[in-house]
Amino acid sequence: MNNKARFSICALAVGLALAGAAQAAGVKFADPTGDDKGPGSYVYPTDAVYTPGSFDLVALEVGDGDNPDFKVTFNDRLADPWGMGVGFATQMVFIFIDKEPGKGHTKSLPGLNVEFAPDSAWDKVIILSPQPQSRVGAEVKAKAADIAADIVIPRRTVGTGKTISAKVKLDELGGGDPATWGYQVVVQSNEGFPDKSDLLSRKVNEFEGQHRFGGGNDSDCDPHVMDVLAGKGAGTPDEAQAQYDMLKYECGADGSSVKRATLSVIRK
């Protein structure tokens, strides 16, 4: 093959890229850096794949149109050490959407160990996972069948730079204007070998391990959440404390839950 042909292929690719339409802005929330500690005490697993900042939520952007983008940005470059093939591997994100205040689910998904306040009950949740859609779907069927109709798994989720993104058809979310909805983003870690009751999420224990978070409780009374949106979703430093307060929990001596961490959604 000669160089002329090789340059032609390059030019074609550049042309296609430039032909792409610009995406109009929708709604955006920010989150402070350094609050990837759950209720304030959580620490990362000790394996080197869990790089600093990789579960530190920085922003949520929701596009507009019939097929809006959902983009979640972190405070670390995404990496794919496990060969998932979609540009990221260790993160897993749940975007809870409250379309109608006061209606919807107050319990969350299996393994997260959080609840939602009644006025923040969610209607739809989008799962951004590096696992194939079929795998996530099979887990949902097995572990969250009762709310499966409200769980949306994008056909393709990709990580580029620091941002995980996916497109979701508005119809799958029941229509409406995404700019008016309330949102909560729950940052978890993709666990390929989850516990029987967990939806592909990684556990938080008292002591951190090579592949589990630390700083929590060995029972399932603690929120298995590393970072969420808090306050007004503006990214101000005080929102870190607002997050820690929101994720406060209480365990009984036998490991039972005395007080569940309770989340609220954020609206613009």
Binding site: A48, S134, A138
Partner: protein, 728 residues
Amino acid sequence: MTMHLRNATLAAAVAAVLGLAPQAGHAEDSASPLKWYGSIYAKFLDGNKRYEEGLYNAVDGVDAEGGGDQGQGIELELMFSAQVSKQVEIGGRIHSRFNKNYWTNYGGFGVPDNNTTNCGEDDPRCNQYIKLRGAWARITPGYEWLDSATIGTNDWGMFDPWTQGKSRYIDRDNLGGVLLQGSALGKSLRWDLARVSIPNYLGIQFDTGGNLDGSTRPFGAGDIYANDANWVGQVKYQPGPDWNTTLIAMYAKDRSVDEDDDYVLDGQTTKTAFDNTVVGLKGQYSGLGWMDLSGAFYYSDFNAENATAGWNFFDNAPCDGQWAGNCQFSPIPSSSMDDTAFYINFNFNRLFIDGLSLSAQVFDIGSDYVSVMATRREADVLLTEGQEATWMWGRPDYNIGNRNNRPAMKGVGWGGWNGEVQQVVGSADNDFTDFDEPVAYQVTGWKGVTLVPKYNVGDWEFAAEYSYIDFNTNWQACGGAGKNDCGGYYTNEGMHAWGYGGDYRSPYAPYQDRLMQIFALRAMYTLDVGNGLDLMARYKYISDEDDRVTDAKFLNDAYPLSIPSASATWIPNPGLNGCVECDDRQADYDTYGFSVGYQLHPDLYTKLIYELHQVELIDGTIDVAPVGVKDYMMTNASGWANYLTGETTKNRVALDFSYFLSGVEFGGTFDYFWGDYEPTFFTDLDGRRVRLVPAPGATTVATPFGDITTGSYDYNHYRMKIYMKVSF
């Protein structure tokens, strides 16, 4: 017996064996039941190589251990863990071995004759035996200065692929050691300290045991190796979200008995066969917002003076210091050396417009950078996607291939690997992998720059790469007077890490002046039809040039009169008649790939793939053979060196699928390759390399690799892998 009772009984038995059974009443409040979990994994292989070997690749492994493409096998993996008390947690894994457990073997039934090599009931390759693959205890004493101590097997993933890398040889947790972990300053400072046992194959000549009495001992069974270890420690400091730094250091030592110490009444003194110190400093800064900066710098010092000072190794003789000499097969050098390695990453997460990012990496890995315990697979130390996996270990083989040619014919085959290429600084190892998995490639000596822009817009995803790769291993006789000044470097099977026709773990050559450039484009688009069609197109071009001998004074050393030849009629051309450009090697790789993926059913995803791979290669004139090549390498006994000059075309049509139900995953690949190889020939004319047109009627051209037929050759390769994995 109910399942519950059976599990409890098993738990008690395992705990008792491990000596970890709690005393009655001990720590009842915090103890948790023993958890059992695991998987059933079945693999189905078929292919037109028709080798009934182990159910995975074994490119350079022990004969009859791998390289098969036929049969079905099923294995059981059983894992357990328990919180013995608040301070003690244990875990472990037992696993059956795949190898040649075809369902037709009946577990070796019918061949119970105490023969461990005939695939009978006494042959562990075929009798479905189960063994302990890993066991560990983790102690969390609650001290302020110590978070935990883990004793037992581990994959050592908390460290670093440039120093103490993640280990996987058959299993991830074969490697044992003691790991202490602690923290301070509210967990903003964390430290790890470990003593990791060195596998007995990670020594000079794949052996950490030296001979005491001069007798020849089998592989890995030298006099002492059981206490050989790598001490590794790291301190990580992360004062805030904007920056963090890690200091890491290791010291590995291979100790062997001092055979000069004849007086045993005061104990036996030892000698150090090798020791290896590596110190590294890593850091990351992300406070700028528009760009993140990260990097690492390593210094290694490797001392192996005893290897060439009368110390007996693998074949009962000191390393002879010859290029491709008696210490050529080795994962580490046999001479002392030190060097540095570094990389700096610049990540622009939003470059001018939304959706456009750019990653840039500058890297330099010294030719003499040695880390005995660096990762050998399943890690990638560079940003570049590297070369194409389909050409790894591949050779035309038409001239010398036959069914008994194990290394060439029983390896991965003409199709090569389908997965990505992972760059490693340890001695790359790809045995016990499948063709659909990544392939590791050793990049010791690489230096250059890589740019990777990515652009997501609308339903389009674009990615590209440009890499400019120079080599610290570009040298003439390694800076000495002749090829044997390279005698401290290993060659292994491939004589050179060339890509097509080379080896993935032979980064050294006595004469090299190489430059490689990689250019890749990839576009993905989701077409909104039905459940959505995932379309992908890619193009990749690699230019790989090596002028090898660049000074005429070395030509006779590189190409002496005594080059072995597999041809009865080839006439050596010592010193290439003074033609410096006659050994220049040029390879142009073009790859085009297209795929269409579709979610046929909520549980089933399928992908249809077409790839076209082309290589135009000039491997010097017909007088050129790899420097130091031995005659057996060009014969049916090994086939490691092939005649490669010509044009190779390889087409691939494949169907991939994945199918998930709750708790079970099925996946598979059906591959069909076809293509051809058309040899071309070059000779020297008045000191210049010119195309050689065979005389009319000539059917062969004599070369050191044999009499090469002038016609083209057709190839095809069919292979299939389907697997099932049930997790429970």
